[in-house]
């Protein structure tokens, strides 16, 4: 991959050449300006090719056959796991493939409630009346509803950190919220709405003091900047393939090996067992224990190709590029009267999601105008309804960037926002 010298550290034109979809037009022949990578990213041809090559040469059920095809498929699948694990600084056996990040969080939550009918080694995961689960009010529903549900199943109590006016997790009550009753603290690494980055170290330190497990929602960080779960010292973390140039239908749960080894299973069935009798079954060691049934084989291979792609470009450079785009967007939008950013207005401890509201133009209406100009952004609460409610915003407009976006696209966005105001007569 060649990289141009200049203010932006990436050769975006070359990168865009790898994404066929970016060449299309929408509505009345408008060039596509895709600013919705926070919802799902596009995939380069390298990822599509990797999946197809696998399917046309080595496809077979993994871990289940002794024939050559099955050997090749198993090698490809486990090789993918190893590459993905090293991408986030952890060991291969600590990576569990799930269908998306949401399943990964549910896996941990259900394993905890299943602990009450499992053996003594699972005792540390048990939840019951008097125990507390702590989350934050900025969470995506994926890291919120599963914890509400596990509290309903077990009788534990859900508590949460509030939100500052610029959409950050408010840690002022850290020491009282996370206390001796706390069994688990689950929080996002980066808000998918405000872009705010959570001070992971502070929360992890406090959780360790009281012996609580930590679960990191890394859906919006791993795709966009270098992340090392071991260095962050969290117990569990999740992310999704489709947000990082990889296929849909695959997510990753990281868990410290020692914890995964002691944890009861969630989804059960073939390939995750040790011994099956009608009277009862025992289970394989991790990660197999958590991967019941024929897995998302080609998708793991596609995700490994995505990780390779990102590694060649370099996550530092991806991040720097997105920060340049974010700075331009914050600057451009701040010059439009009546536009209010939902989240930090400078680059301190934030990533590249820029959400905003426009006085007098509802987010849905703004989105419609933007769409008519080819600008594909997201409108609504972005699966973070409590955060929106707390900030007094019913729905916001979110632009989110990735390595294939350009400064020109940011200009188109800002101009489109002005057009929305004109169209609805609030110029």
């Amino acid at each position: 991959m060649t990289v141009a010298a200049g203010p932006l550290p990436l050769d975006v034109a070359a990168i865009r050449g790898d994404f066929a979809i970016l060449g299309r037009t929408v509505r009345d022949g408008k060039p596509l300006v895709y600013l919705d990578s926070g919802a799902t990213s596009q995939r380069p041809r390298q990822v599509l090719d990797a999946e197809r090559t696998f399917l046309e040469t080595s496809n077979a059920a993994v871990h289940r056959g002794a024939h050559q095809l099955s050997e090749e498929a198993t090698d490809a699948y486990e090789g993918a796991r190893a590459r993905i694990a090293s991408f986030v600084g952890v060991d291969q056996e600590e990576v569990v493939f799930t269908k998306n990040a949401t399943e990964g969080i549910n896996l941990v939550a259900y394993a905890m409630s299943n602990s009450s009918t499992s053996g003594p080694s699972a005792a540390r995961f048990r939840l019951g009346p008097g125990d507390e689960v702590v989350i934050t009010e900025v969470e995506h529903h994926a890291n919120l509803v599963p914890w509400q549900q596990v509290c309903e199943r077990t009788g534990a109590t859900l508590r949460w950190f509030g939100v500052t006016s610029d959409g950050r997790v408010d840690l002022s009550e850290l020491d009282s919220l996370v206390n001796e009753r706390t069994k688990v603290v689950a929080f996002t690494h980066q808000s998918n709405v405000s872009g705010a980055i959570t001070p992971v170290a502070r929360i992890v330190k406090r959780a360790k003091e009281v012996g609580a497990l930590t679960v990191l929602d890394a859906c919006q960080s791993v795709p966009h900047m270098p992340v090392d779960f071991r260095a962050l010292d969290v117990d569990f973390a999740v992310f999704s393939g489709h947000k990082m140039l990889g296929p849909s239908g695959i997510g990753v749960l990281y868990g410290r090996f020692e914890l995964l080894s002691a944890m009861p299973p969630f989804i059960t069935g073939g390939s995750m067992i040790e011994l099956v009798r009608m009277e009862g079954s025992t289970f394989a060691p991790p990660p197999q224990r958590f991967e019941a049934g024929v897995p998302m084989t080609s998708q793991a291979i596609g995700l490994a190709a995505a990780v390779d792609y990102l590694s060649v470009v370099g996550l530092e450079r991806v991040h720097a590029h997105e920060m340049a785009l974010t700075a331009a967007a914050l600057r451009g939008l701040s010059e439009v009267d009546g536009v209010h950013i939902v989240g930090p207005t400078d680059l301190t401890e934030r990533g590249g999601a820029v959400s905003f509201v426009i006085d007098g133009v509802h987010a849905h209406d703004a989105g419609q105008v933007l769409d008519s100009l080819g600008v594909e952004i997201r409108v609504g609460h972005h699966c973070a309804w409590p955060l929106h409610r707390k900030l007094g915003v019913a729905a916001s407009v979110r632009a989110s960037f990735y390595l294939y976006n350009t400064l020109e696209e940011v200009d188109v966005l800002v101009e489109a926002v002005r057009e929305a105001k004109r169209f609805f007569g609030v110029a």
């Binding site: 849905h364 209406d365 929106h388 019913a394």
Partner: protein, 151 residues
């Protein structure tokens, strides 16, 4: 430009000057509906006279937070149903539903829908159809509650 096709003058007029807005007494039932994808909300009250399909819709009042499409559609709704019978309002709802689910391919009946025909362009945008139907869902639900047929 497609945008003008969708946001007809009629829609923008209703959006800026909504009819029968505000929550009024007396009323027989009040409901609260939300659109789960965007968080838009409507609180809606109905006052009926009589019962069954022949009951008269005396008033529909509402407080809504939402986009121009959902606001305007609720305003138009009140024009269409107030002073008519429940039976007539349901027939109009049917016709509006047919229009909205028609993907822009259904010819609306102006005699039935009046200003409602302005929403023909919205039907081309599936993600916005829910906006146009939010008020109607609330209205049907409220009437059902008055009738006691709601579970």
């Amino acid at each position: 430009m497609q945008l003008e096709q969708m946001y007809q003058e009629i829609i923008l007029d209703h959006y800026k000057n909504p009819h029968r807005r505000g929550l009024r007494d007396p009323y027989d039932a009040e409901v609260h509906h939300v659109n789960p994808t965007c968080g838009d909300e409507v609180t809606l009250r109905v006052k009926l006279e009589g019962s069954g399909a022949e009951a008269k819709v005396v008033d529909v009042s509402y407080d809504a937070q939402g986009c121009s499409i959902s606001q305007a559609a609720t305003s138009v709704l009140t024009d269409l149903v107030v002073d008519g019978t429940v039976g007539e309002s349901f027939a109009k709802h049917e016709e509006f539903l047919r229009l909205m689910q028609g993907r822009g391919k259904v010819e609306p009946d102006e005699d039935v829908l009046e200003d409602g025909i302005a929403f023909a362009g919205v039907a081309k945008y599936p993600a916005r159809v829910k906006c146009a139907l939010l008020g109607w869902m609330a209205f049907k639900d409220a009437v059902a509650r008055v009738e006691g047929t709601e579970s």
